[in-house]
C-alpha cells in the first residue's frame, strides 16, 4: 500500500499526551478508550476465570465436596454472564477494534468519539450492576435466564443481573453504531471497500449483528424483569404464555452473538496470517464476503438451540439445514487461510502461533458444530458436556486465541514496546496444550451422557473430569504468563519502532504508539491490502 511519507518530527504519542486520571476518564481518544476497555475486561475475565477454576475443582470428584449446589449454580451463572457479555463480546471489538479501526481507515478517530467514551461508562455501569448482583447473593439461572425458572422460581438477584446485562447491551449497540458509521464515512481517500483490511470487514459484519441483535436481547431481559418484579406475565404458562417464546427471543440474539464472539477473531487471524506469510490472503474477496454471509445466515439459525425443546419438527428441519449452510462460509475461511501458505515465506512469531492455534481449535469446534446441527445426533448430545466442549472450542479456542494473538501482534503499536518473544511462544504453547487437555475430554463426557450444569456425577465420569481439571490448571497458568510479561513490557520493554513486523496496513505507517490524532496528515491509499513484496526477493 503506498502512502504519503510521515512528517519528520511527529507530535507526542497518545500515552504521553496526558497522564492525569482525568485525562483518561474524560478522553475522547479511541486508543485510550480501547485501553480503558482492556483493563476492565481483563478484570472481568479474571473474576470469571476464578469461578471456572472453582467449578473445575468441584468436579474433581463425583461428590459435592467443595461448594454447595447453590454456590455451584451461582458460579456457572456468574462464569457465563461475565465471560459472554463482559469479556468475549467486548474483547476484540472494543479493545482491538476501537484501537485499530480508525488507524486502519486512516481516520483521526471514530465517528462519534464522545459516544465511544459513553459506551465504556455504560459498559462499566452494567458490569457494576452485575458485580452487585453477585455480591448480594448471586443468581442461579444460568446465563440463559430460561423462564419460568428465572421469572418465578429462581432465588437471588435475577433482576439486578438482568438489568446489568440490559445496560451493557447499550454499550454494544453504541459501539456497533459507531463502527458502522466510521467504516462508511471515514475511510481515507482511495480506501475503497475491497481495499479494506479483512479485520475491518469482520468488524463491519460484527457491528451489523451488534446493532440488529442486541436490542432483541434488551427487550427480552426487560420482559423478564417486568414478569419477575411486577407480575406482568409474558411467558408465564399459567396465563397461557409460552416459555418457548422466551427461548426464541433469547436465541434470536444469542446465536448471532456467537458470531460476535468469533467473526472479529477471524479478522485478526486473516491479518496475522497475511503478515507472517508475507502474502495477500488467498481469495481476499471471498473471505471478506464470507464474513457478511456469516452475519446474515447467523440470524437464521437460532432454532438449533431448541431441537429438543418441543418446537415443531419442521422448524427443526429448517434450522438444521440453515445451520449446515452457515458452516460453509466458515469452512471456506479455513481453506483460504491454508491456501495462503502456498508459496509463502512463513515466520513463526507468536501472533502466527496463536493464529495457527485458532485454525486448529476452530476447525475442531466447527466440525463438532456439524454434529450438533445434525438433528438426530443433537438429541443425544444436546445439553451435555459435548455442547460445552464445542462452544468452548469456538469461543475460547477461537476467540480468546485470536484475541491474545491480536494483542501480541499489535502490542508494539499499542505500547510502543516489544514483548519477550521466547516467553511468549512458550505461553502460546502452554495455552494450546492446556486448552485441549481441558476441553477435549469433555466431548467424550458429553457423548457418554454427562449433562451440563451438574456438580455431582456418576463415578464412571471421574477420570475424564480429572483430566479436564488438570488441563484447566495448565490453562490458567498459560493465561497468567502473558499478563505478567505484557505488563512488564508496557513499562520496560525495548522500543518497537513504527513497524517491527514490516507489515502493510495504514496502522503501521504512523508512529508507535501513534500520536493523539493518529496521522500527521490524512493518508491517501492507492493500492489493495497486503501488498507484500515477492517472498522470493526477501
Amino acid at each position: 500500500m503506498s502512502v504519503d511519507p510521515p512528517p519528520a518530527s511527529p507530535p507526542p504519542d497518545y500515552l504521553a499526551a496526558g497522564v492525569t486520571v482525568r485525562s483518561w476518564l474524560l478522553t475522547h481518544d479511541h486508543k485510550r478508550v480501547a485501553l480503558l476497555y482492556l483493563f476492565t475486561i481483563t478484570a472481568f475475565f479474571a473474576i470469571a476465570a476464578v469461578a471456572a477454576a472453582l467449578m473445575r475443582w468441584e468436579l474433581l470428584t463425583p461428590d459435592a465436596d467443595l461448594v454447595t449446589p447453590d454456590i455451584y449454580n451461582r458460579l456457572f451463572t456468574l462464569h457465563g454472564v461475565l465471560m459472554v457479555w463482559f469479556f468475549l463480546i467486548p474483547s476484540i471489538p472494543n479493545v482491538l477494534g476501537n484501537f485499530l479501526l480508525p488507524l486502519m481507515l486512516g481516520a483521526p478517530d471514530v465517528a462519534f468519539p464522545r459516544l465511544n467514551l459513553a459506551s465504556w461508562y455504560i459498559f462499566l455501569a452494567g458490569g457494576l450492576l452485575v458485580l452487585q448482583a453477585i455480591l448480594t447473593g448471586g443468581v442461579d439461572t444460568g446465563w440463559t435466564f430460561y423462564t419460568p425458572y428465572s421469572s418465578t422460581y429462581a432465588n437471588g438477584q435475577v433482576m439486578l443481573m438482568a438489568a446489568g446485562v440490559f445496560v451493557a447491551g447499550f454499550s454494544s449497540i453504541a459501539t456497533g453504531l459507531n463502527f458502522i458509521v466510521t467504516i462508511h464515512k471515514f475511510r481515507a481517500p482511495g480506501l475503497t471497500w475491497f481495499r479494506l483490511p479483512l479485520f475491518v470487514w469482520s468488524l463491519y459484519a460484527t457491528s451489523l449483528i451488534l446493532v440488529l441483535a442486541t436490542p432483541v436481547l434488551a427487550i427480552t431481559l426487560l420482559l423478564i424483569v417486568l414478569e419477575r418484579g411486577f407480575g406482568i406475565g409474558i411467558f408465564d404458562p399459567r396465563l397461557g404464555g409460552d416459555p418457548l417464546l422466551f427461548q426464541h427471543l433469547f436465541w434470536f440474539y444469542s446465536h448471532p452473538a456467537v458470531y460476535i464472539m468469533i467473526l472479529p477473531g477471524m479478522g485478526v487471524v486473516s491479518e496475522t496470517i497475511a503478515c507472517f506469510a508475507r502474502k495477500r490472503i488467498f481469495g481476499y474477496r471471498v473471505v471478506a464476503c464470507s464474513s457478511l454471509a456469516i452475519a446474515v445466515l447467523g440470524f437464521l439459525v437460532w432454532g438449533h438451540h431448541m431441537f429438543v425443546s418441543s418446537q415443531s419438527v419442521y422448524a427443526g428441519l429448517v434450522f438444521s439445514l440453515l445451520s449446515f449452510l452457515v458452516s460453509v462460509p466458515s469452512a471456506v475461511k479455513v481453506f483460504n487461510w491454508t491456501a495462503t501458505f502456498h508459496r509463502a515465506s512463513i515466520r513463526f512469531d507468536t501472533p502466527l502461533l496463536y493464529a495457527l492455534g485458532f485454525m486448529a481449535l476452530f476447525t475442531i469446534g466447527g466440525l463438532t458444530g456439524l454434529f450438533l446441527a445434525t438433528l438426530a445426533v443433537d438429541v443425544h448430545v444436546h445439553d451435555t458436556y459435548f455442547v460445552i466442549a464445542h462452544f468452548h472450542y469456538i469461543m475460547v479456542g477461537g476467540m480468546v486465541m485470536a484475541y491474545l494473538g491480536g494483542i501480541h501482534y499489535w502490542w508494539p503499536k499499542i505500547s510502543g514496546r516489544l514483548y519477550p518473544e521466547g516467553l511468549a511462544r512458550v505461553s502460546a504453547l502452554v495455552i494450546f496444550l492446556g486448552f485441549n487437555l481441558t476441553f477435549f475430554p469433555q466431548f467424550v463426557l458429553g457423548y457418554l451422557g454427562m449433562p451440563r450444569r451438574y456438580h455431582i456425577y456418576p463415578p464412571e465420569f471421574q477420570v475424564l473430569n480429572v483430566l479436564s481439571t488438570a488441563g484447566a490448571s495448565l490453562l490458567g497458568l498459560g493465561y497468567l504468563l502473558p499478563l505478567v510479561y505484557l505488563t512488564w513490557s508496557f513499562f520496560r520493554g525495548p522500543p518497537a519502532g513504527a513497524n517491527p513486523w514490516r507489515a502493510t496496513g495504514l496502522e503501521w505507517t504512523t508512529a508507535s504508539p501513534p500520536p493523539e490524532r493518529n496521522f500527521a496528515e490524512s493518508p491517501v491509499v492507492s493500492g489493495g491490502p497486503y501488498d507484500y513484496p515477492e517472498p522470493a526477493r526477501e
Binding site: 483521526p108 436490542p215 432483541v216 426487560l222 407480575g231 406482568i232 397461557g240
Partner: protein, 209 residues
Amino acid sequence: MNLAPTCPSGTPAHGESVNRLGLWVFLATEVLFFGGLFLAYAVYRAAHAAAFSAASARLDFPIGTVNTGVLLTSSLAVALADLAARGRRVRSARAWLVVAGLLGAVFLTLKGFEYHAKFAEHLVPGPGFAFAGPPPAELFFSLYFAMTGLHAVHLLAGLGALAWLWVRLGRHPTGDHTGAVELTGLYWHFVDCVWVFLYPLLYLIPPAP
C-alpha cells in the same frame, strides 16, 4: 446523546451525512427493540384470538383514537418546524416545536388517564388482576402495558429532544440548525410510526364471532 462527529474533511455536509447515518442505524436498533414485543404479540394473538378480542374490548377506544390523531398532528408540526429551519425562519421553527411538544404532552396525559382507569378496573396484570374471561386476557394486558409503556418512554425522550432543540434554537437564532431539527424530527416520526402500528393492533381487534 451528542452526535457531534469528528470530520476529517471538515465539511458540514460530511458531518451531517455522518449524523444522519448514525441516526438511521439507531432507528434500526429501535425497530428490533420493539420487534421483540411485536413478535410476542403476533404469537399470542394467533394462539389466543378470542381472549385477545375480549380483552381489547376493555380498552378505551375513544382515547386511543383521539391520541392517534394527536400524535399524527404533532408529526405534522415537527415536519413544519423542519421546513421552517431549512428556510432559516427560527421563530417559526420554535413555534412549531412548541406545538409538537404540547401535542406530545396531551398524548401522554390522555395515556395517563387511560392507565389510571385500568388500575381502577383491576386490569393491570399481577396479583390484583381481575377479568371475567379467559386467563390469556392477562397476556393481552401485559403486552398492552409493555408496548404502550415502552412507547411512552420513547415519547418522553422525544419531548426532551424537542425541548433541547427549542433551547438551542433560542440561544443561536442565526445558526444553521437544519441537521439537528431533521434528526430530531426523524426520531419523532419514528415514535409516531410505532404508535401507528400499536393503535390497530391493540384497539381495533374485532369482536370474536
